[in-house]
Amino acid sequence: MDTLTMLLHGLSISIMPVNLLACIIGVLLGTLVGVLPGIDTISAIALLLPFSYSMDSTAALIMFAGIYYGSKYGGSTTSILMNVPGEAASVVTCLDGYAMAQRGRGGAALTVSAVGSFIAGTLGVIGLTLFAPPLAQSALAFGPPEYFSIALIGLIVLTKLTGTSTLKSILMVTIGIILGTVGLDSMSGISRFTFGIDELDRGFDLSLLAMGIFGIGEILTVMTASSTQSKVQTIRFRDLYPTREEARRSVVPIFRSGILGFLIGLLPGPSGTTSSFASYALEKHYSKNPSEFGHGAIEGVAGPESANNSANSATMIPLLTLGIPFCGGTAILLSGFMIHGIIPGPALITQQPDLFWGLIASMYVGNILLLIINLPLVGIFVQLLKTPIYILMPIVAVLTLTGAYTINNSVLDLMWIAFFGVMGFYLRRTGFEPAPLIIGIVVGPELEQGLIQSLIICNGSIWEFLTRPIAGTILAVGTAFILYHAIHWFINLKHQQKETSINSNLHQY
């Protein structure tokens, strides 16, 4: 009841004209950042910080938060329509979203993605409203051994994500892990695999890799294909929205992945990306027809796009209740807060209730605004596909490169993105699906760092590691899951062998 009163009070603050305007500007900018491939949220907010100096602090914070959660809405647009992810968190949406678009269901995929984002984003904000302080506390029970356990199980489960051969997936993950080791290693204080190139000390940025392999790679694929132009279809109005069947199949994934994403968002790391991958694996597992995944399954769009939005809302919890950012996006938000003299921490709720509740309420308002903005945009974006490819693709390429430059303000990064573009192009041509590579580069460093930290924390004893309650449980459940699948696979193999031997026996007679 108390929470409700405070929330209503917050609502009255968030709909004050100046704050509402800030919210609208924020979510509009966020949508733009999300839609434009290459431009990532962190550099966008960093670029906009100076423009906020003269703003009222509450309005400024509402605007920054709007950009932050708004950017997760638009990220799927280019994934679905062009197979070019708008954000690293939308890489996995390409798999089924683009397949849907090729079948003429792009509009439906975009609508489901927008509605899923809205529902899951709002679910996340509800979680934030009701349980923020206790959730932040329980997230702290996870230390390096627990992160390591999650990363290990995650890596094994997520490797078999796409339809291509397991061997190819493992190869991709391995290359991802190898790329993740490049750079100055804070665990040892030395540079690894930089071959004397100073700029490699920075390591490869996740966004950069995703933009190169998927964005530039896809542009090259399209530009070199001879007959793509013929595919431009006229899209009828009713094709813009999901059929009853598609809507029905999306409901459960939206809620299930919404909850999954929220939980992942409570842990440190790039939770937008990890949650969308985890959601894809989860939905594929629970789907009645997993073989459809990769060929335009609506669940493969609904799940990940919902997960990354609720993860996004969840990342606000440690920021607002502990004052500690758990990911790059909230780190730049914290900067924005501090520049305006607001220092979030455990005392924020009690000492600045107007600001805290105003911000939370603005997130409800913002999510509704985003839905209102995004649904009509579906029609416009789908029309964009009528633009001839030889005009559209160069524009997308320029946008991607511009965005890539703003990540580290580095010219060398542009060469890397071109390199990864060519790599992505050849990977696709040779039948490799590069999505697992992204898992490798995200999870690899977590694994290495987690193992080093965990073993020091556990006094070098594996036993002490395994007997930590949470880490032990995660590893046990993970092992059981993997064993179950291994046995399942083995029995299937036996059956097949038996059938083939029966068949061959029959042939003999």
């Binding site: 962190i42 550099s43 907010i45 960093a46 910080l49 100076p50 100096y53 702290l140 029970a141 996870f142 230390g143 390096p144 051994p145 750079g183 100055l184 804070s186 665990m187 040892s188 204080g189 030395i190 540079s191 100073d198 700029e199 000390d201 920075r202 390591g203 440190p268 440690p318 502990l322 004052g323 500690i324 950012p325 758990f326 790059g328 780190a331 730049i332 914290l334 900067s335 501090m338 520049i339 003299g341 220092i343 979030p344 921490g345 455990p346 005392a347 580290n408 303000n409 580095s410 760092q449 080093i452 930290q453 020091i456 924390i457 006094n459």
Partner: protein, 315 residues
């Protein structure tokens, strides 16, 4: 003719916005100082500052770029104690103290030694006696091998004659998360990272590494190591640097501009609100400090075995 035009440009300096390279990602302490300056620059320098983040390589990438920048006063950078430390390990491309020119020191920030507040230790001595009874049990978190916090942890262990295990993290935030969950027992972190936690009573600070106590009323009760009989003093600082060979007129203008900006009470209030304290030094004094800090730390990293540890990794 040529010289005359250069002279007039110098006299009019600055005629366009000044780029400030922040060698770390947006969101850190260094970045916040740069952006606070960005907010106040126009009034004192006559032109806006444009903050550009060039993260990577523990700050070295941004500083390398600054070393190579045109010394025309339109490219400046933010420096920190790491400018002095990094070259000591012999892994950097340039020797920054001789390749860069300090313009001003803006703030100083000591480190705080913090422990989770559910641990029993109320002061350093109880921590030390616990460590002596449980050798190898206590772990301290720091922001990477060779970082100031790592040097501090090893120095503390050596001074107190105890053994502490070091756990490398990516930065102050990660250390704080692990401290709050009691996964590690000790952390060496800048005040701005843990101020709110100390205020809320979730972390307890046992000592600050400054010469004097902090002036911030929320943190002024924390005793220094020196007060408690330990000769441990290490203070990080942030400053403004330029490439070497800046024309003297431009250097003077910049020095004056930053000096008056830093003296502005509003600027001071902004910096203090971040949990930092303003401590201005001019160019010459900064240079002196770089040299003395460098000499002192060169000795420390040898004595604590950190240099050896990093060199062993290299080969």
């Amino acid at each position: 003719m040529q010289t005359q035009t250069t002279l007039t440009t110098k006299n009019n300096y600055p005629t366009k916005p000044i780029t400030v390279i922040v060698p770390f990602s947006a969101g850190g302490g260094l970045d916040l100082v740069a952006r606070t300056m960005e907010k106040n620059a126009l009034k004192y320098l006559g032109q806006p500052l444009v903050v550009v983040n060039k993260p990577g390589g523990a700050g070295t990438l941004g500083w390398n770029e600054l070393v190579n920048a045109n010394p025309d006063g339109y490219t400046l950078g933010i420096s920190a104690l790491d400018v002095v430390i990094q070259p000591l390990y012999g892994t950097t491309k340039y020797h920054y103290p001789s390749a860069l020119e300090p313009i001003a020191q803006v703030t100083t920030l000591p480190f705080l030694m913090v422990v989770p507040s559910d641990q029993p230790w109320q002061d350093i001595n109880s921590l030390i006696s616990y460590a002596k009874q449980h050798p190898g049990q206590l772990k301290f978190g720091h922001a990477g091998i060779g970082s100031p916090a790592h040097i501090l942890g090893e120095t503390f262990a050596k001074t107190a004659n105890i053994s502490l295990e070091q756990v490398p993290f990516h930065g102050g935030n990660d250390i704080t998360i692990s401290l709050l969950g009691s996964h590690i027992q000790i952390g060496f972190v800048p005040p701005l990272t843990v101020k709110e936690q100390i205020k809320a009573g979730t972390l307890r600070a046992l000592a600050t590494t400054g010469e004097q106590r902090l002036t911030d009323p929320d943190l002024a009760q924390i005793p220094t190591f020196k007060e408690q009989g330990f000769d441990i003093v290490l203070t990080n600082w942030y400053g403004v640097v330029a490439p070497k060979e800046l024309p003297p007129e431009i250097k003077t203008k910049l020095e004056e501009g930053f000096k008056t900006m830093i003296a502005d009470p509003e600027f001071k209030a902004n910096i203090e609100n971040l949990g930092l304290q303003v401590e201005y030094l001019n160019s010459d004094d900064s240079k002196e400090k770089w040299i003395s800090d460098g000499d002192k730390l060169a000795k420390t990293i040898r004595e604590t075995g950190i240099l050896e540890q990093i060199e062993a990794q290299k080969s």
